[in-house]
Amino acid sequence: MARRWTNDLSRGDATPKQCYLNRRQLIAAGSSGLALSAWPAAAQTDALEPNSFEEITTYNNFYEFGTGKTDPKENAGQLTTSPWAVEINGMVDKPGTYAFDDIMAQMDIEERIYRLRCVEAWSMVIPWQGFELADLLALAGPNPEARFVEFQTLMRPEEMPGQEYPILDWPYIEGLRMDEAMHPLTIMATGLYDEPIPNQNGAPMRLVVPWKYGFKSIKSIVRITLTDDQPSTTWNKAGPSEYGFYANVNPTVDHPRWSQATERRVGGGLFSKRIDTLMFNGYDEVAPLYEGMDLEAQF
């Protein structure tokens, strides 16, 4: 069922493992004038060079492990991700608990190199591995009357210290409209740079919806419910005027406290130039999903 969508970025754009593991040394070598024989030519010139493994795994928003950007890296090591299971329930033919290993055995794992745009106006390019959400939902058999999908993150305060503080209404809940969930761009990521996805990035399985702000891409999922009601989502409840249900990347609709017109690509250092944010984060193929909607009101 998979491979309905083709990357505009190729595997050649991603940093090979021997490069990202040694990136700092390579940068040091580069600045001292040595040739970078192991470095792919595309990666030097392409503006869409994926971020390094270090960047993707040390700069995270995962408030279950703390609100600082490095807190998830520091605190997520203790999270137990095996065994893991996802409950799929609601408007499906086969509700039940699906073991992570059983899911993986049935899925076609492919690479998706996606841009990620955080609502805080920073961005990355990330080489995910995973499968389309549509294929996972197909296992449970969605009913035609299902209109929305609700996702829930693991609630385990003894391993997720951030959940001890009521800064958000735990557990973390996110949601998609059914057509968004079934879109071939929407994936469940289980890997990063050909490694199992690190805990701080949402192990063992997290949603990735590349045309929406990052907070929609919920991590460490334990429940998926198909419903005919629009889910009440965590950030939307925390700040209804700041974080909409749709949260589509949109440079013309500002966050009340900052502009969304531009973003800073992580990894550019202290003097990196801001770049223009693209409508739907550059994924124009999703525009038909929102035809006729007022995206300023339904932000």
Binding site: K69, W122, I167, P256, R257, R264, G267, L270, F271
Partner: protein, 202 residues
Amino acid sequence: MTTAQRVNVALRKVPSWVVYLIGAVIPFYYLYLALTGAMGVEPVNSLERALGELAMQALVVVLAVTPLRKLTGVSLIMHRRALGLLAFFYVACHLLVWGVLDVQDPARMWSDIVKRPYITIGMVGFVLLLPVAATSNNFSVRRMGPMRWRRLHMLTYVICVSGAVHYVMVQKVWEIEPLIYLALVLALLAYRIPTLRREFAA
């Protein structure tokens, strides 16, 4: 000699230039950390926040000088001007990083100042700091006279509140650290109420 007196003698031996020098070096040390990767993979934001927090710390210390003297007898008064000017320097660095490295566009800086309440409040604090910093010298005390000078420097109270509120408002959720700074500022101001009431009643 009491402990407080011994501390005061020791404090008085510290020359002002040492306070200025150590204080002025800190932002450059932060800049070095940001340039060498020690502030993480997104150093612009880290540096901006580190400088803002440093400014907040300096403001709280300045505000604590009088209550500390009245409660413990320990007096930092001879270093208060240096601490205050350092706070101004830190706020200016924070603002510079925001404008030059973060926003990178004068038009957008202006629209943020006008449109975003937390930036408006922060900017109000900075603008009020300008006359206070400009008159933090003996010449100004003499020219203005101690009463007028003192009244002008009471702007510090407004500056500290605006800084702390700016810090609380920039967060996405109610975080504990900015709330602690706000509580400290409000407590240090509340301590002054009886004195101020007497002064203004007279």
